[in-house]
């Protein structure tokens, strides 16, 4: 079942083109990675997908419903199916961790206060933060904030999760724990996950499918699972990124390379 389909999406900041020709589909239970170098538009894509920023053109459809062509009421219904972990976790600083996790339940479910708290505590237990329920975000470490953000994203058990750089800034053990959590969430809830990441171990460990953006050509240059792309991708930028190799030298207008390094034709 296709949960999310993106069709010929174009992203711009004013007149500046970020990426064009983005198309992909995400099935139920898929973990989909958005890959590419810094500044190529990965996080911007998430903003288009979750309704924070309208795309320049193209369609984003959730189970056949075009998000950006919908009215406010329809968009609100669609948003009830999202959970999002922001790069900075974006926990509401004036609320405790428990209140942070309760708010999506208050907004998207008909549970009473006691049931909401029970569900929120379950989510916090899942991410091993049960004993920090009454802490404020400022009192938590970076990794704990990420886990609290994940608990908030999964509390209402949405069918679709968006994770923006979930392991960025975490030590390898915390990063591995977060990857395991994402896999466990998929296992237990069947949710599809769209995640943006630079972390190669995370990409190879959890992603089933993905798309690779190129900042130079301004369009996706590869589709597929990160491990398959690492082994078989023909494009030198994709190979260099996923194998942590020296990137190919950029092409000059005259057709040569801008330095003396050997370039591999795509």
């Amino acid at each position: 079942m296709t949960l999310l389909a993106v069709d010929q999406l174009e992203m711009r900041f004013g007149d500046r083109l970020i990426q064009t020709g983005i198309s992909f589909k995400i099935e139920k239970g898929t973990i989909f990675a958005v890959m590419g170098g810094s500044g190529c538009g990965k996080s911007t894509l998430l903003k288009h997908l979750v309704g924070l920023l309208p795309p320049a053109s193209g369609r984003v459809t959730y189970q056949g419903v075009d998000y950006w062509a919908s009215d406010d009421a329809q968009r609100a219904k669609l948003r009830a199916g999202f959970g999002m972990l922001f790069q900075s976790a974006a926990l509401w600083s004036s609320m405790t961790i428990l209140e942070n996790v309760c708010l999506p339940l208050e907004q998207h479910t008909t549970l009473d206060a006691a049931a909401r708290e029970r569900r929120a505590r379950e989510a916090l237990e899942w991410v091993a933060l049960a004993e920090f329920a009454h802490f404020f975000p400022a009192d938590l470490s970076g990794g704990m904030k990420k886990r609290a953000g994940l608990a908030r994203a999964i509390a209402a058990q949405p069918p679709l999760l968006f994770l923006d750089e979930p392991s960025a800034g975490l030590d390898p053990i915390s990063s591995k724990r977060l990857d395991d959590l994402v896999l466990e969430i998929r296992e237990r809830t069947g949710a599809a996950v769209v995640f943006v990441s630079h972390e190669l171990p995370s990409l190879f460990a959890i992603a089933d499918d993905g798309i690779f953006f190129d900042a130079d050509s301004k369009h996706p240059i590869a589709h597929g699972s990160p491990s398959a792309l690492r082994d078989t991708a023909e494009h030198p930028t994709v190979r260099a990124f996923l194998r942590r190799e020296e990137p190919p030298a950029p092409q000059t207008a005259a057709g040569g390379t801008s330095n003396n390094a050997q370039s591999t034709p795509p």
Binding site: K47, V50, G51, L52, A76, R79, A80, F82, M84, F86, Q87, S88, A90, L91, W92, S93, S94, L103, P104, Q107, H108
Partner: protein
């Protein structure tokens, strides 16, 4: 040039959104949390009382002192109470309290919301389907609207008290005589005018503080700029609106 190009589209849109959200809230469809509203109301009232007290007592005392110096020359020292009462009720209590609240609470609104923007907290609300105007702006503007008139009444009392201290200390005016003159000089029109100003200034401070926060740049510098702008715009706005009130009061013979 087209008329539309001259309009400040964003502030006008913002004002419209706040009015729609307020109407929706009045119809019982508010989305903000009662706990958040309680905290903002406390910030706009009880926590502001110490500074409002100090400033207004001193302003009342200064007015009385300036008046006393002149009135003593004419042997009309007792009328210092009239001058303090009218100046405090019509002008000073509302303006001084508004300036204090702009620097204290308006700046805090701007800094808090701008920081939330920088930390993607506002985005997180929007993804959840919570409108930032409903969730963040409406409770703050509502709190300022409702608490400013109360602070004004309190400021009038403290201003009169400051005047009384000077009147009794410098002019040997008895407390009873001072209160008697104040009661004689103060009319409901003076108090009503001051109260109307307090209400309007409250709305202005809340709206400007939240606007500057909501449209701040998403970085540390943006938070600083938003805070400064909130204070400057609110204080200038207060003075401009006060001038408008003065013209209207004169036209209406209040």
């Amino acid at each position: 040039m087209q008329l539309a190009a001259l309009l400040p589209i964003r502030p006008v849109t913002y004002l419209g959104q706040v009015l729609i959200a307020a109407a929706s809230g009045a119809a019982g469809r508010w989305t903000f949390r009662a706990k958040d509203l309680g905290q903002v109301v406390a910030d706009c009232s009880a926590r502001a009382v110490p500074i409002v007290t100090v400033v207004n007592v001193l302003v009342g005392a200064i007015l009385a002192f300036v008046g006393a110096v002149q009135l003593i020359k004419f042997g009309a020292g007792i009328y210092v109470a009239d001058g303090v009462a009218i100046a405090v009720a019509r002008e000073m209590a509302a303006i001084i309290t508004a300036v204090v609240m702009a620097g204290r609470t308006g700046a805090a609104f701007a800094a808090e919301i701008a920081t939330m923007q920088a930390n993607e907290e506002v985005d997180a609300l929007e993804v959840l389907g919570l409108d930032a105007i409903d969730f963040l702006v409406v409770p703050r503007v509502f709190a300022m609207l409702t608490m400013m008139p109360l602070l004004f009444i309190y400021a009038v009392i403290t201003g009169l008290f400051g005047g009384m201290v000077v009147a009794s200390g410098m002019l040997n005016v008895s407390t009873a005589a001072y209160i008697d003159r104040v009661a004689d000089a103060l009319s409901w029109a003076h108090l009503g005018l001051g109260l109307a100003k307090a209400f309007v200034f409250g709305a202005l401070i809340g709206l400007v503080g939240c606007y500057c926060g909501l449209y701040a740049k998403r970085n540390a510098a943006g938070v600083g700029v938003a805070t400064t702008s909130a204070v400057v715009v609110a204080i200038v706005g207060i003075i401009v609106l006060d001038a408008v009130f003065a013209v209207c009061a004169n036209a209406l013979d209040i």
